[in-house]
Amino acid sequence: MRLKRRHDAGAIIPTASMADIAFLLIVFFMVTITFEKDKTQVALPKTELRYEVPKEAAYISVTEGGQIRVTTGEEMSVPVDAEDVVTFAANLVTAFPGRPVVLKADDQVAYRNIDKVIDSLKQAKVELIYLLSEQKTVSAVGGGEGG
């Protein structure tokens, strides 16, 4: 019996579903993207314990040089003097009672800068602050990294 010749396999990559996959990825990125209100670049301190910061929070960032930027969480952050943080915090407490303040400060900044900020927050009667941090990785053999 004579066998029928097999058809040659086509050298075409099926790309019909490519657009579907791509659009699914776009939807994923659009849903997960969050526009940061404060884009200050700081080297955050590392901690083993870390709790999720509420989405609706005010941010105060302090760079290594001591520059301070603040935002209530509603608009982009603006630079302020250390003396003005208390006014910002008082306005925040009036406008958004109970809103926590996230302190995004550089690992190496001198504590006197942070002390002024915390003091201002206490005076303005802010109830809860978060010290923003990165995950500290624990080494395999005893203890963690030096802090």
């Binding site: 709790y51 003091d119 809860l128």
Partner: protein
Amino acid sequence: MKIKVQPASDEIPTSSMADIAFLLIVYFMVTTTFAATRGLDFALPKDDDTPPIVEKEDAVLIEIQADGRLIIDQKPMELDEILEYLDPKLKNNPKKPVIIKPLPEAPYGMMVAVFDVLRQGKEILKLEKDINVSLPTQREIESFWF
């Protein structure tokens, strides 16, 4: 001469759809920044201009030097020795206050590291409550203790 008229196609041209979609993906991937959204929470005490109930002598005082070294109750100590030192004191009095007092030039990161260790104290030392941590500001120290 007779001009040949091509019949209009009733298909939507979708061949460039994938290219556009992938361009959008590249845009989102480039602009996405993975923001740090976690940290240590710290409830601030009410500032009511009254002296704190905590007496300095009753508490454990953790001083952080400008170079990051720790002095606990006048004794130099390492970060991983804090809980070991506090263990007998907290077994005696679980409400014993622990005061963190960084010097003005001390690195902020060290204060956070100490606070992180103290927050882990409840679990590591098997305490019923969190360690009573106090972080007085310079103004409070000058007003109430000196």
